[in-house]
């Protein structure tokens, strides 16, 4: 039981940047000297489908994924997907969720309503939950697609890892050049949302 590993699940809708987020975390954790694994499913038309990425870093990590009830953190880029991935969280694990709802087609075809408040309430019945106005924060940097980077800042500030400098290096390495500046600012807004509550 001596191994210390942080397990992070990232739940998103394909196209939201969940994979970019997982890659930035992995690269930053390697810069920090951690042993790192991520596990994802890529390639098939995943766009607009459910996507879960696994990120693990710590002393010595081998498995790219983990099982239900093993995540220390769940980062939800979307509330329906956060709800779906809750089973991955360990007892006492923390859900960091963006207040974003993208109703799936299957719900719309049935006229099923999925209000954000109700989803948030349901999520917080199962886990300690930090809700993040991620779209508003992303819009503040003029890049509505930067919800993933906002949540990166929220995660880093909450967990204390990876280090700020490694994350900045990782963003510059992973994100396409023209998006680096707004990504860094979105990340900073996510950080300060946790650290100063704004």
């Amino acid at each position: 039981m001596g191994r210390r590993v942080v397990n992070v699940a990232i739940a998103s809708v394909g196209g939201q940047g969940g994979l970019t987020l997982s890659r930035v975390l992995a690269v930053a954790a390697v810069y920090d000297g951690f042993s790192v694994r991520t596990g994802e499913t890529l390639g098939m038309a995943q766009r607009f489908g459910s996507v879960v990425s696994y990120v693990r870093f710590g002393d010595s990590v081998l498995s790219p994924t983990f099982s239900e009830g093993e995540a220390d953190y769940l980062i939800g880029l979307e509330l329906v997907e956060a709800l779906r991935a809750l089973r991955l969280l360990k007892p006492g694990g923390l859900a960091l969720v963006a207040s974003v709802v993208k109703p799936p087609l299957s719900a719309s075809l049935r006229r099923e309503e999925l209000p954000a408040e109700a989803l948030l309430e349901e999520i917080s019945r199962y886990a300690r939950t930090v809700r993040v106005p991620a779209v508003e924060l992303a819009l503040r940097v003029g890049n509505p697609r930067a919800v993933n980077m906002v949540m990166l800042g929220v995660f880093a500030a909450t967990s204390g890892t990876p280090s700020d400098s490694s994350i900045r290096r990782a963003i510059a390495e992973v994100v396409p050049a023209r998006w680096v500046e707004s990504s860094v600012r979105a990340y900073e807004l996510g950080r300060s949302f946790v650290l100063s509550g704004s």
Binding site: S108, L109, E112
Partner: protein
């Protein structure tokens, strides 16, 4: 540095001095060549997609018999496409190293079957190596070239999704210059499979080379097969499963020796005899078939050992699906190595929100084509259940989902046309439709088309031409004038090819012109012979990337009645239902306008965007 398994394999190929790389896109293998396109620009390395896996393999084989180092990449079913030349290549052998990357998909996550290509080893009589991590994937990729060259045999590097798509920390090695053509010596007994006596002789040669494998690999890469830990309880494992085993044993505090294999075929018998000699009980942890389990049982039999072997054949692990930390922990409980209390029960009950399978993207031209086809079937006077629509492999297969539920089959590359033909020759009297993507047609659809033309079978073939291999991440097709590496290529015209194959009627339409597409398909449904309708419009994702979005749609609230006509007709994921009305997800709409067209209340309006 942090590398994905496939990036690490690409790096390994470069470190080994590869000079020819070919392949066909297929998850989870595609990123190897995608990565090499970046490494390889302006270099001496030939890195290109081929039209299919067998052609890709033959290109690589042709290079390797001349002393060049070559590699070929494919997903699991692609190995079956390449099987004919692969098996023959074992008899001819190679001069330059030839590495065949075959990426299997336990799960399955993105593959039609859970085909276990470790059996290619005994079937093709070629060495099979299997890594567990990105680092080992890189190291084994390098070792595989040296092994191949020393044995003079192609070597199969067999991976699974959890290695190909895992990101991990990787230490790089030195890069060798690309090893290109040296000489090609005419050697008829070696390379001409027409002589049966040669073939018998070459088979004997092959067997003698294979016998050297364990010794050569152990010299090249001493850690390939290793025992970690100690004890009379032994776990034999390989690939992704090794990771779960190591972690779970450590987490649960079980003292056991872990017998980790990288050489799967020929089985490293000497190593295994040493490793298993002292075992009191053996648990075999592997994904998919009980392949290693049969190996372990054979080795124990040879040793005269009576240790019980647990695994899939004993029912302690599943034969289907991928393994996980939990499944391995549960297996340790069920064999009695850890108490039941050591493993927490699965998480309790959680809510099940509405499912979200991947749909066709907003603006996807395939949506228009299938919609036009369904409308044409009605207009031509048929019921939907009278006109079987055969599907094929690609994004357009997502049309099986509601609201379209269009295709009746999706089987294997190119099978839409031949299976539709089969239905007709079996006596089906109504019209049949085969729907096939552009790259799938190039890959394996042209011969079925030729067959249908030659036998004068009535079939409507709809080519869903989005001018790219979209599903695997937008790779080039033979219709491109320049490939990813910057190579100038001769674009192949689908309509010219199908005309030359003798199709009775050939139409080309833009599915964004829905009326014309319905009209053409209606006519084609009524005609006899082989009719080919090429429905051509670029993949919406590519088009947006190239040209940006110039307009979007939004719903005028007081005009929308929430009737859902738009959602039910298009199944567009940019539309959603909220507060009794349909809304458009602003960031997702690309402005194709299909929803507006089917709104009975004219509730959609255009928003021009900068």
């Amino acid at each position: 540095m942090a590398l994905m398994g496939n990036e690490a394999i690409a790096r390994g190929f470069v470190e080994a001095g590869v000079s020819v790389v070919s392949g066909y896109p297929g998850t989870p293998s595609s990123e190897v060549i995608v990565t090499l396109h970046e490494f390889g620009a302006g270099s001496e390395i030939y890195v290109e997609w081929a039209v299919n896996e067998r052609v890709a393999f033959e290109i690589a084989y042709g290079a390797a018999i001349s002393g060049a180092r070559a590699a070929v990449t494919m997903k699991a079913p692609g190995a079956s496409v390449a099987l004919d030349p692969l098996i023959s290549s074992a008899y001819g052998g190679v001069e330059g190293g030839l590495v065949v990357l075959v990426a299997d998909d336990p799960g399955p996550h993105t593959t039609q079957t859970e085909q276990d290509n470790r059996w290619l080893g005994p079937l093709a009589k070629l060495p099979v190596l299997s890594p567990s991590s990105p680092q080992e994937a890189k190291d084994l990729a390098v070792a595989a070239f040296d092994l191949s060259e020393e044995l003079k045999l192609p070597v199969i590097l067999r991976t699974t999704t959890r290695v190909n798509h895992a990101v991990g920390d990787v230490v790089l090695g030195p890069v060798r210059p690309p090893q290109r053509f040296r000489e090609f010596r005419k050697d008829i007994p070696r390379f001409v499979r027409a002589g049966m006596l040669f073939n018998l002789e070459r088979h004997r040669w092959l067997s003698s080379r294979l016998e050297l494998t364990e010794g050569v690999l152990t010299k090249l890469y001493p850690g390939a097969n290793r025992v970690e830990g100690s004890g009379e309880l032994c776990v034999v494992t390989e690939g992704a499963a090794y990771n779960y085993v190591r972690e779970v044993l450590e987490d649960l505090g079980v003292g056991a020796s872990v017998v980790k294999l990288s050489l799967l075929y020929p089985p490293p018998t000497e190593f295994l005899e040493d490793a298993l000699r002292g075992c009191r009980e053996v648990l075999v942890v592997e994904e998919l078939d009980p392949y290693l389990e049969t190996v372990v049982k054979r080795v124990l039999y040879e040793l005269g050992a009576r240790a019980p072997v647990y695994g899939k054949e004993s029912g302690h692990l599943p034969r289907e699906g991928e393994l996980s930390r939990r499944l391995v922990a549960e297996a340790l409980v069920s064999v009695g190595w850890v108490p039941k209390t050591a493993v927490s029960p699965p998480a309790g009950t959680y809510p099940s929100p509405p499912p979200r399978p991947p749909p066709m993207c907003p603006g996807c031209p395939h949506r228009n084509t299938y919609l036009a086809l369904l409308l044409a079937i009605a207009r031509a006077g048929y019921r939907r259940d009278e006109v079987p629509i055969f599907g094929d492999i690609g994004c357009y297969a997502l049309s099986f989902q509601p609201p379209f539920e269009a295709i009746w089959t999706e089987h294997s590359m190119g099978a839409s046309i031949s299976m539709a033909m089969g239905l007709k020759v079996a006596g089906y009297g109504g019209p049949v439709v085969a729907t096939i993507g552009d790259s799938t047609l190039f890959h394996a659809g042209l011969q079925p088309l030729l067959e249908a033309v030659h036998k004068r079978v009535d079939v409507l073939v709809v080519v869903l031409d989005n001018s790219v291999v979209a599903m695997t991440g937008h790779q080039s097709t033979p219709a491109w004038g320049t490939t990813e590496s910057g190579r100038r290529a001769k674009p192949i015209s689908i309509e010219e090819v199908v005309r030359a194959l003798g199709a009775d009627r050939v139409y080309v339409v833009d599915p964004y012109d829905l009326d014309l597409t319905v009209e053409v398909l209606t006519r084609a449904l009524r005609e006899p012979g082989v009719r080919v309708v090429v429905a051509r419009h670029p993949c919406a994702l590519m088009e947006v990337r190239a040209r940006g979005v110039t307009r979007r749609y939004r719903v005028v609230e007081d005009r929308c009645t929430g009737c859902l006509a738009c959602v039910r007709t298009t199944g567009c994921p940019a539309l959603y239902y909220s507060n009794g009305r349909v809304r458009v997800s602003e960031g997702d709409c690309v402005g194709c306008g299909l929803c507006a067209r089917f709104c009975p209340y004219k509730a959609f309006e255009v928003v021009e965007v900068g």
